[in-house]
């Protein structure tokens, strides 16, 4: 990794005293000589030393990474998670990912054209979102961040609905209960507590629905996320925490947020954590499905860490060349989620050329539809500023609305007078 954390360079006094500081190198060279009772400490020391040397290498070659489809498009088996999909389902997942990417690219280009104020691209995270999104039942409930465009697609949220807030005509605006897809949340991590509370309600109702909370590697540092882990564990809430570790919180690599792989955090709270290849749609589907089923059975929360990569900028306002190298992106491009499924579909003859051609056409139709819908999106009426501030209304809001209306009308009068 290019950026080493302060913690790695300057061990604290406490870690020095337990031998994890300056003595790391020695410990690593002769682990076998350690007395048995110190084995655990030594092992932690060794892990820390390896992480320090090259944290990303450790993460990427994690033997616990669940994978069912390799970057080369080869199906592999996993002892714990399996999946058996029909050709239709496989083609469906591919179609979802391609259309999501097309929609995302259209939004990026609409931002460049000035039609949107901002866009947060999901480029590279299609498998994590489609795999987890397609694991859900209709009665399950989704609590997204502001980047879950692929999950929204799976829930049946019209893609153009997502663009209102990025255009600046509303703050979300859709009815969360239409598709059981809560509004996008911009403040980092808040929604994990909402998801937990919703799940507590599901359990109280005796329903067997499950809830899924999306968040990122950066959010994992927020107090709200830690509290949601505590609450969900204590109340055994039927919630799946789906963390898309896309390696970057704007300019900060995951090493600035954590010194252990994120999925391992779950253990400390008393529920299981799984790391899945976030660019493998099959593995994401299988792991999320299993976690949701566990929640339905009343066995409580699961943390799924989808190990993926933010191929683009944080948002269209961001310039990643300031903080990361092109080579890193290139390495992840070789693990592209869409490409590997295409390779598999082709090599297994699950999809033919006609399928890909017609999907290409469908993508263009979608792009055009989104483009036209956004351009036709009217600016809100300024008087709408005063709408829906309170469910029960407010005399103060009414007074300000009337004053503002009179003020606006005074310009209309002067225009008339001018004529």
């Amino acid at each position: 990794m290019t950026v080493e954390s302060t913690a790695a360079r300057k061990p604290s006094r406490s870690s020095n005293s337990s031998g994890a500081g300056t003595k790391r190198a020695t410990a690593k060279k002769s682990p076998g000589k350690a007395p048995a009772k110190k084995a655990a400490a030594k092992s932690a020391t060794r892990d820390a030393a390896q992480r320090e040397a090259s944290p990303h290498d450790v993460s990427q070659h994690d033997s616990e990474l669940v994978q069912l489809l390799t970057p080369e498009g080869k199906r592999v088996e996993h002892p714990e998670f399996s999946i058996d999909l029909s050709p239709d389902e496989l083609r469906g997942l591919y179609r979802d990912m391609v259309l999501t990417r097309r929609f995302d690219a259209e939004a990026t280009s609409l931002q460049r054209q000035g039609e949107l104020g901002l866009w947060a691209s999901l480029l590279g995270q299609e498998a994590a979102q489609i795999g987890s999104g397609r694991a859900l039942r209709d009665d399950d409930y989704v609590f997204p961040t502001y980047r879950e465009h692929g999950v929204a697609w799976c829930r049946g949220v019209p893609p153009e609905n997502l663009l209102g807030m990025f255009r600046g005509v509303n703050h979300g605006g859709w009815d969360p209960n239409t598709n059981n897809f809560q509004l996008y949340t911009i403040v980092i991590g808040s929604q994990t507590l909402h998801a937990t509370g919703y799940a507590m309600g599901v359990a109280k109702d005796g329903a067997d629905s499950a809830v899924i909370a999306y968040f990122g590697d950066g959010a994992s540092s927020q107090g709200d996320v830690a509290e949601s882990f505590t609450f969900s564990a204590v109340y055994n809430a039927p919630v799946v925490f789906f963390c898309q570790n896309n390696q970057w919180a704007i300019s900060e690599p995951t090493e600035k947020q954590t010194r252990v792989p994120l999925y391992q955090r779950a253990r400390g709270y008393g529920f299981p954590g799984v790391r899945v290849d976030g660019n493998d749609v099959l593995a994401c589907l299988a792991v999320t499905r299993s976690a949701l089923e566990r929640a339905r059975r009343g066995e409580g929360p699961t943390l799924v860490e989808a190990f993926t990569y933010r191929m683009g900028a944080h948002t269209t306002s961001d310039d990643p060349t300031k903080y990361r190298r092109d080579e890193e992106r290139e390495a992840w491009e070789a693990k592209d989620p869409i490409l590997r499924l295409r390779t598999y579909l082709e090599s297994e003859k699950i999809a033919d050329a006609a399928f890909f051609t017609s999907l290409e056409e469908e993508s263009e139709v979608l792009g055009k539809r989104v483009r036209e819908a956004v351009r036709a999106m009217p600016d809100p009426d300024p008087m709408a500023i005063f709408d829906n501030v309170y469910a029960d209304g407010s005399a103060l809001v009414d007074e300000e609305r009337a004053q503002f209306a009179a003020y606006q009308a005074s310009f209309a009068d002067s225009v008339e007078e001018g004529k």
Partner: protein
Amino acid sequence: MAVQKLPIAKAINESLRKALDTDPKVLIMGEDVGKLGGVFRVTDGLQKDFGEDRVIDTPLAESGIVGTAIGLALRGYRPVVEIQFDGFVFPAYDQIVTQLAKMHARALGKVKMPVVIRIPYGGGIGAVEHHSESPEALFAHVAGLKVVSPSTSNDAYWMMQQAIQSDDPVIFFEPKRRYWDKGEVDTDAIPGPLHSARTLREGSDLTLVAYGPMVKVCLEAAAAAQEEGKSLEVVDLRSMSPIDFDTVQASVERTGRLVVVHEAPVFYGSGAEIAARITERCFYHLEAPVLRVGGFHAPYPPARVEEEYLPGLDRVLDAVDRSLAY
């Protein structure tokens, strides 16, 4: 080179650079402040020159940023922390209100909290939700906190120097839509105390009081009113806590009329405090009630209607006309 023409963002950058250079106890902390130099580039280049030990990219956790700044201050450091956007300060609100503000009093004065919390605030940049708010009254209401906002490059430079030197916690609101406005910075001449107001334009008919991003609007309003034969005085408050009431009072005693302008909602806003105090101090001088121009009692709206929501030239002049009509 004592006098330079700098944008406000760069003036703050230079001020932070000087503080890092002259006081080894000064630290910069926040999300993306290091390698990236902050999302507004206010800390650009500082990590490169002063190292990761002093310009610290923190985990993404505002409560953690302020909470650890309190600990560092207890240990003798002077942390200058950045909250990335106004709407993201609230995870840290508990640490700021219940701990940072009260520590000095609870320790009977034996502990000092020289922490500066930088917050880019206000609207007008076409941003999404939580990126355009003006929450200064929520901090000014809390005893133990000092709350300031510069409106010019020179003030940005000097007020940051003074905020860092202050032994009290200072919430430093930076007018983000003015970050790129250029102005002269004289690095040799301190313009005055941190908490003093300043009269930027003299006039005889009415006093406009503003701070931060609204100062420019008020100066434009005064220029427009001049063409209609109205003489407006413009006072840049600079500090919302404490408030330099003496300067405002002296102005109102001459003009007899006062309009307070801020982006923040009028209801329970700093304008309410100014109106109440000035009414007490200047009751027999006032020719009209103190009027306020500001945001509405509604969530900050989507970007496409923020121009209507934000007080602009016309809204200020409308209030001026109403005041003069008394």
